[in-house]
């Protein structure tokens, strides 16, 4: 028997895919995309910041930045807000993680589901709900004002502390999730070993448990700090103009483009420094448990007083967690303009929901967001999957650098991404096929694409790393070409990961606000900007109906992803 008789015919395509230079063919479009839509826009912003009016190199903008009190105060405020947010998020998140993972008390299961509710709230909706609940004209301050018959509201959430409250509520889940994972991974035998060696409770905590949690805490701290620095919606909602993100947009609206570019560059440097710090930290060796299959043990709360206290605290926890969603749901039924000085709106209607789908003006932003998010996500799938495959399977020069480069858009604040887009694409460039993109439909999908590329990339990368590489080799040994085995074997196996990343990217596109608000065009106004404009014109009902829609979409995507993850786990456990 000759091998030609049964071996597949050699095609030109097979010749190309089997060349050892095919790696570079595969990564060249990725390099081009990163160059065009990540590096080039960053470079344009940077070059604008270091040029004077005549186009000569000059650091006058930076001198200006570091000598203007407004800028320095903004930088100080941003750092202060971020540091305090890290501390408050850590306290709430870690305490919740210990309470729910180590203790058994009535209502624990219910609470451990609700504790993740803030993840389902779009950032803008989270900020708006706090404003409605605890702001100067909010439900609680007015409630106390009325029952105590006061002239003024007795308290209200405002300014920097308002921002910190919103941050704590929306970001403690990062700490909660990482601390929970670490606690579940804590090997009980370590504590038993310490006890057998004569350690007391306190020593076990300070010498064993807390050191074991440190890696998770450091990673979460860096993450929360970075997200807090980038936060835009909370300062906007509570009218704090002296933060970095707010200053960038203010400089733009005032026409001081050079200063806006300078502020963006400063914030970019901080963000990228934190990204590198995080990457470096995560690559260090973490504590890993030596023994397998440790069960989580929960201490039953026995003392009746503590039990009642636990139940009471659980109820308060549930209420605090549910209130933001409940208030948004409630106001989505309020007749616009019916909420003036009352505690809660006076008149209700389902008209807003009917309008969402029947009134062309109301439906418009929804349809715009769906379209733009879809375009972005298609790009994400193509480039995210290809990049993930190249990074996992191949070795090539500059791989480590490319890994960081792909993650840069994730670290960059949305405000900065928008400023970069404006710098790069407000004039014709080769990367935009000699078109001006700013002011067209395409600028927003492009911004979404850049912002969500890391998400799709990371998810695809994770599934590829999990996939047994010999499966691909088995396909090859059976005669399959690279393309055939990629299409028939690799893609079906990593599909759940791609799908999970894609759905998240899609829903993030639907809820994106920070970059959108700077670069949207009136004819393609996205959903979140729609919400903001409705808030601005006091059409709270419609704004909240939009918000409920966004929240439902997020919940659906999270549930679907949970299902995908579950199915995939059992499927891979053979």
């Amino acid at each position: 028997m000759t091998s030609e008789a049964i071996a597949p015919k050699k095609s030109i395509w097979a010749k190309i895919t089997q060349s050892k230079y095919f790696v570079y063919v595969l990564i060249s479009p990725l390099v081009l995309v990163l160059l065009a839509y990540v590096i080039y826009p960053m470079y344009k912003t940077f070059s604008q910041s270091v040029m004077d009016q005549e186009g000569a190199l000059s650091f006058s903008n930076y001198i200006n930045f570091f000598t203007t009190e407004a800028n320095l105060e903004s930088l100080r405020n941003s750092v202060f807000i971020s540091v305090v947010s890290v501390i408050t998020c850590a306290i709430v998140g870690v305490a919740m993680a210990f309470l729910l993972n180590r203790y058994e008390f009535p209502g624990r299961k219910f609470l451990s589901v609700l504790v993740l509710v803030p993840m389902a709230l779009p950032p803008l909706i989270g900020a708006i709900s706090f404003y409605f609940l605890y702001g100067e004209t909010g439900i609680f301050p007015r409630f106390f004002q009325q029952i105590f018959n006061l002239e003024e509201v007795p308290f209200s959430l405002e300014g920097i502390w308002g921002i910190i409250m919103v941050h704590t509520f929306t970001m403690y889940t990062y700490f909660y999730l990482s601390a929970s994972a670490a606690i579940k991974g804590l090997d009980l035998s370590l504590e038993e070993a310490a006890t057998s060696l004569g350690s007391g409770r306190l020593r076990i905590w300070t010498k064993i448990i807390l050191p074991m949690l440190t890696p998770a805490m450091v990673a979460s701290s860096l993450l929360v700090f970075m997200i807090s620095m980038a936060s835009y919606t909370a300062p906007l909602m509570f009218g704090v103009q002296r933060t970095m993100t707010m200053q960038i947009t203010l400089s733009r609206t005032n026409g001081n483009l050079d200063m806006s570019a300078t502020q963006s560059t400063v914030l970019s440097i901080v963000s990228i420094a934190f990204l590198i710090l995080m990457t470096w930290y995560q690559n260090r060796r973490n504590y890993q448990n030596q023994s397998k299959g440790t069960g989580v043990h929960r201490t039953e709360v026995r003392s009746p007083i503590v039990r009642y206290l636990a139940v009471l605290l659980s109820i308060i926890g549930v209420v605090v967690l549910m209130l933001p969603i409940m208030v948004i749901a409630l106001i989505s039924f309020a007749v616009d303009g019916s909420w003036t000085t009352q505690i809660i709106p006076a008149a209700y209607t389902i008209q807003h929901y009917v309008e969402l789908f029947t009134d062309p003006d109301t439906w418009g932003p929804i349809w715009n967001s769906i379209q733009m998010s879809t375009v972005a996500v298609i790009g994400n799938i193509i480039f995210g999957v290809a990049a993930a495959y190249a990074m996992v399977r191949f070795n090539f020069k500059g791989k480590a650098f490319m890994d960081i480069l792909i993650m840069v858009p994730w670290a960059l604040p949305g405000t900065v991404v928008a400023v970069n887009m404006i710098s790069a694409f407000s004039e014709p460039s080769a990367f935009a096929f000699n078109q001006v993109l700013v002011g067209t439909f395409w600028i927003l999908p492009l911004a979404y694409f850049v912002r969500q590329l890391p998400l799709v990339f990371r998810n695809s990368q994770a599934s590829l790393i999990q996939m047994d590489q010999s499966v691909e080799e088995a396909a090859q040994s059976l005669g399959a070409t690279w393309w055939h085995s990629f299409r028939r074997v690799v893609l079906p196996i990593i599909m759940p990961g791609i799908l999970a990343g894609t759905l998240l990217a899609f829903v993030q596109g639907l809820t994106e606000f920070v970059a959108s608000i700077l670069i949207y065009t009136p004819s393609t106004m996205p959903l979140s900007v729609g919400i903001w404009n409705k808030m601005y014109s006091f059409e709270f009902g419609t704004a909240c109906a939009y918000g409920v829609l966004q929240t439902i979409l997020i919940v659906i995507v999270l549930l679907v992803n949970e299902k995908i993850k579950g199915d995939n786990d059992t499927g891979a456990a053979f």
Partner: protein
């Protein structure tokens, strides 16, 4: 079926050398095994035959066709992976059919061939099962069927039994050998288990640290080990160092110290050893061929340790500064205890001369 030839194969990974100067001729239809401890380069060599690695230097040929840099999918090989590498998203039928679909055979032909393959590995009726619904042994047989159904020129097996439990391993070993004999397919088998290698192979290549130690039939490898490594890796062996005292036409007498002289037959020596008076030499003596009682090469010793394993009794016997492992088949007679004296004899034709350690 094709023959496989490896000529001066060397493979470097960066600066570290995985295998060096491998030369083998595997005959058509032969069952050839690469045996060695982990990290010895046996899997690397197999993967070069499969085409997943290309050698840094040297040539690989199937029959007389140079395939050194041909991609794996053009080699028409069947490979069974250590972890089976079954496609988790496909059924048993789809897994087995994969290679046939690649070859663009018609649906009816594919169905016929897959069913035949299922019969062959005794998995009839399992076609619609998911891979996750199979036991380890069944997964193993799917992997075999998938590799064989494409009628490969060469079958490559990379530690296929290592993920099975002991009983299943035995069964599957017999099964693989049966299939190989029935098909007469050239087979290259990788394992670190000497029993597997001995039981299945026509010839074995023993490897260590990237180099070939010896190539030969199981009997040759066991009875005539070329060096210390082979002697101690394959089965157990007592290895003694000594100086040659006397050489006659047929016999060699070696002084192993403590005034003990051992006499062996001259032709029982590795081709690499220099048999001449006053030369240093190593002796390999298998524990099971040492006899209790007087005979040729009689020596006196004291028992240090006694181990009863059912089938056999193992003694560790101290003779001067040497310790000898002795294995006696259990015949129901008395067992000697620690401290007892024992007389041993070593048949002249069971001493094997190897080159000195080093």
């Amino acid at each position: 079926m094709k023959s496989v030839r490896l000529e001066q194969i060397t493979k470097m990974f960066g600066k570290s050398r995985a295998v060096e100067d491998i030369n083998i001729d595997i005959k058509s239809g032969e069952f050839f095994t690469f045996l060695g401890p982990s990290g010895c380069g046996k899997t690397t060599t197999l993967r070069m035959i499969a085409g997943f690695y290309f050698p840094t230097s040297g040539k690989i040929a199937f029959d007389n066709e140079d395939i050194t840099t041909v991609k794996p999918n053009k080699r028409n090989i069947g490979m069974v992976f250590q972890n089976y590498a079954l496609f988790p998203h496909m059924t048993v039928f789809e897994n087995i059919a994969f290679g046939l679909q690649v070859r663009k055979l018609s649906k009816s032909v594919i169905r016929e061939k897959v069913e035949k393959a299922q019969e062959f590995v005794r998995l009839v009726g399992y076609g619609d099962r998911k891979i996750t619904e199979l036991s380890g042994g069944q997964q193993q047989r799917v992997a075999l069927a998938r590799a064989l159904v494409i009628e490969p020129d060469i079958l490559l097996l990379d530690e296929p039994l290592s993920n099975l439990d002991a009983k299943l391993r035995e069964e599957t070993r017999v099964e693989i050998k049966r299939l190989q004999v029935e098909l007469g397919i050239t087979t290259v088998y990788v394992t670190h288990d000497q029993h597997e290698a001995m039981a299945m192979s026509d010839r074995i290549m023993v490897m260590s640290e990237g180099e070939v130690q010896q190539i030969g039939t199981p009997q040759e490898i066991y009875n005539k080990p070329d060096n210390h490594f082979v002697a101690s890796f394959i089965g157990e062996s007592n290895i003694l160092e000594g100086t040659i005292k006397e050489v006659s036409d047929n016999h060699v007498t070696v002084d192993v110290g403590d005034g003990i002289l051992l006499k062996g037959i001259r032709e029982n020596s590795s081709p690499h050893v220099d048999i001449a008076e006053d030369k240093k030499v190593s002796l390999s003596i298998r524990p099971e061929i040492i006899e209790v009682g007087k005979g040729s090469n009689s020596i006196q010793g004291k028992i240090q340790l006694t181990e009863f394993s059912g089938v056999s009794i193992n003694y560790l016997v101290k003779i001067g500064n040497h310790e000898l492992n002795v294995m006696i088949i259990n015949s129901g007679s008395n067992i000697l205890e620690r401290g007892d004296s024992i007389t041993l004899s070593i048949p002249e034709n069971s001493i094997y001369f190897m080159s000195e350690k080093g």
